[in-house]
Subunit: 356 residues, 3 copies
């Protein structure tokens, strides 16, 4: 029987010493994606890619209907992992090998699982780094998304011995020849670049080309909270303004995924036909974003690749830089290490697909 | 014919002297509930109960799909009553005998009616207390929700004589043996506590047990306004910041239902399988909430009951306390009278159902 | 091949010298309207017209289901024109001949085209006025909405010669006998004025009658940004708080359509059965609205008209005034020229339909 005064039912999250290599974690809560989610997401970011915006357009290129925005799928799957993986995280350190494997449509139910694939206690004995490989599945059990992320997690009991350090082998980037899986063949000839909002197909981009996404978006507390809750992401730092007063920032932190979604929506201006994210190779939240900050973005083409057996599409690897309170026109001079540039908040390396 | 300068079309709401015992009021506006409403509600509160979150999960236990969150149904029905009952209210004093009687699904259309069941003029001759019993129905005329609430309403003309005082007899709480109506029999064996996010079934809770819901949520003006409008609740105090400057608070008041929804969403942490609200026995808004305040919550198990003819579920009576800017870990020492504790904003007594 | 450093992919919008009389512009992005859009719009404005709120009510009068709010349709179509027409606009000067031609339902996909019908360079040689006629169509190619708007747009190159000035002939208002197209015949006898929230049918209004819409709504930054993004309207002035600091206002401007939607939602109080906007004759944004302002509204009946072959409905022409931080009860004395009255932000002249 439960001790009536124990408060034993509360989930306090896992601490570093609770993780084991090979451990499988089934995350709560399964979530059916609806037209409502799509609309709220649209109101939050204003994305304009025609394939996701219009059932009629999606059907014209051979899809059954408008698929759900890839990043909305990513955030929902990511959100599920938070109560088990990062409730006691000090920092989200990075992600890798993120692959979108199957389109998600209205009516699909997403669930998530993670496997612990890396553990390394820090020398201070107070924290450790946990690597997990997370998969998101639909109601048929098909994997729609997979990614690795690593977080620094607190230990609860310093006296627990450090585990044997295990470092996962991670690819520097997702191989281009695996990117086709995320998108059924489309009728690229039927893809109407007039109504899509950009004349530029795959062949129109050049290696090293830079794209100024031009617009800026100021983020409000209500907006990032609505977004983060839509993903059922419960990380306390995004919602608890009272507790935040005692932190070094003194205020709520915006979920890094909000910045990614803003940068992606802004990227429509210049990448209007890059409707499909195939993979995220790497992402770093270089600095935190706070309510009241204005986000700008620019991108650079860092690779162009054929996708095997696919004449309909080509893959473009993009590095997108988002900055706060630094207009995108000033982002042209950013050096290799974005972290050294004032105002940069995101350095994202990802593969997008465009019709040929 | 209308006098062109009379402004006679404006609904100024009912005053105390306009109510009659036995009066039936049909409220505007019927409202079809959609997947959009569910998503907006989710973005506003971030609830994670698996049955409401996932069609697949709901079907696995024998329901036709994910039902709409009980409190969203409550707020929509409540909202309809505002233009007729409480537009000239000085205060919402309480509610009782709130019973959820039938699940509501996407596509159902809700409408509301109220009967005046209590009237008592205050000795100052300026206000009176009105009790109404409100029912919410679906498009088939089936009652999905019923509750009593009482409000203090202004008189417009002091010279109107006081009506004979009538005090309704109200139950102290809803009897446990009537709670089964709100939920068809479920397949409790198929209820998957791994994906639902909590291992604790009905039998795992003990009388007197306390549950710290741990997290805090700071509320923004935009959020409570979006919520209250979603319910088509038109009470001026929630929206009119200009007029609010002349009130004793000097700012907009947050609809009390927002606090209830926050407390309920926070309660997932510790009550993750209590997916169904069967009844609300009593609720008191002990103090007002304002934008910028951070809400925390804790609960205490005050009764555990069998539901007749139901082996699938058990009923748990909970007292949930929500406070502002007082973290839940500090709420353990709250005495019987929550109103005397600094920061408490809500004292809610309700029945929830859990799978056995 | 593209010059890698050219930033040539960014859409910088059209400048005055880019427009030609007779030019046809197909706007991006087609957009499928969903139950999610309806819910977000409802949360933003709280509209309560029964026909749009309830599928059951809409069916009771003979419609196939609840049509989408006319102004949501307007804003979505308008939003599509922004990247092509008004990205370099100095000011939105007005609109005329706005006609709603066919109801839009959940599942319909909207797209937009514009024709340039007027050009006049200003004497300063730096700007010019562009008139466009915009049509919104559904997925069947049927026109659901048409309107003319004119904007003052910057020239990029002062050395480009001024075009021959062309001024379109515009009707002062939409003729009443064309208004029936927007609404199939309804069963006015089945229209239930009890559940619709207002007892007043077409015959109950008088020419010159004034209606105080009573309530006030304070607008937050998050709200108008959510609204404007829902419409995929990308006008920088609404979103970029950092750049706005350098403008004469020093802050973000609220999209004028937000004010129109607020005034329309407030107008339910007094015009509860005027569920259908048939046409907008003229609209002027007399002054800008900013976050934190509180909007009030009043209306005056300026015409009452039969619609040919329609015994079910009558057409009422309304002038609605919205003001900020001036309560509606004080708006009664507004003179013919609203612009001279302190606080007025909107002067809107439109046709609404009511059941007889």
């Amino acid at each position: 029987m439960t001790n009536p005064t124990s408060f034993s039912k509360t989930n306090r999250g896992n601490y570093f010493e609770d993780f084991r290599i090979g451990q499988e974690i089934v995350h709560a809560t399964p979530r059916t994606m609806t037209a409502g989610d799509v609309a709220v997401y649209l109101a939050l970011y204003g994305s304009r890619f025609a394939v996701q915006s219009s059932d009629a357009f999606a059907k014209s290129i051979g899809l059954p209907g408008a698929p759900i925005d890839d990043l909305l799928v990513f955030h929902v799957v990511f959100g599920k992992t938070v109560p088990d993986i990062s409730l006691n995280a000090v920092a989200n350190l990075g992600y890798a090998e993120c692959r979108f494997l199957k389109p998600v449509y209205v009516g699909d139910t997403l669930s998530a699982r993670s496997e612990v694939i890396g553990l390394r206690e820090n020398s201070n004995g107070e924290t450790g780094v946990v690597h997990v490989r997370t998969t998101g599945r639909n109601q048929h059990g098909e994997i729609v998304l997979g990614f690795v992320r690593w977080v620094m997690v607190r230990k609860l009991r310093r006296d627990v011995a450090a585990p044997t350090a295990v470092a996962p082998k991670l690819a520097g980037h997702v191989a281009a020849d695996t990117l086709g899986a995320c998108l059924p063949k489309i009728d690229a000839g039927a893809y109407d670049v007039t109504s899509s909002g950009s004349p530029h197909r795959f062949g129109d981009y050049a290696l090293g080309e830079r794209i100024d996404h031009a617009d800026g978006v100021t983020v409000e507390e209500a907006e990032h909270q609505l977004a983060t809750r839509l993903y059922q992401n419960t990380a306390k730092v995004h919602f608890d303004g009272f507790a935040a007063k005692q932190t070094r920032f003194g205020r709520r932190l915006i979920y890094g995924g909000v910045v990614i979604s803003i940068a992606r929506a802004l990227s429509f201006n210049g990448l209007g036909n890059a409707f499909k994210i195939a993979a995220i190779n790497a992402g770093r939240h270089v600095a935190p974003l706070f309510a009241g900050d204005t986000v700008y973005a620019m991108s650079e083409v860092i690779d162009l690749a054929d996708v095997p057996h696919r004449k309909d599409i080509g893959a473009m690897r993009i590095r997108t830089i988002a900055a706060k309170d630094v207009q995108s026109a000033q982002l042209t001079a950013i050096p290799g290490d974005a972290a050294t540039t004032d105002g940069v908040v995101l350095d994202l390396d990802y593969w997008i697909l465009l019709p040929r």
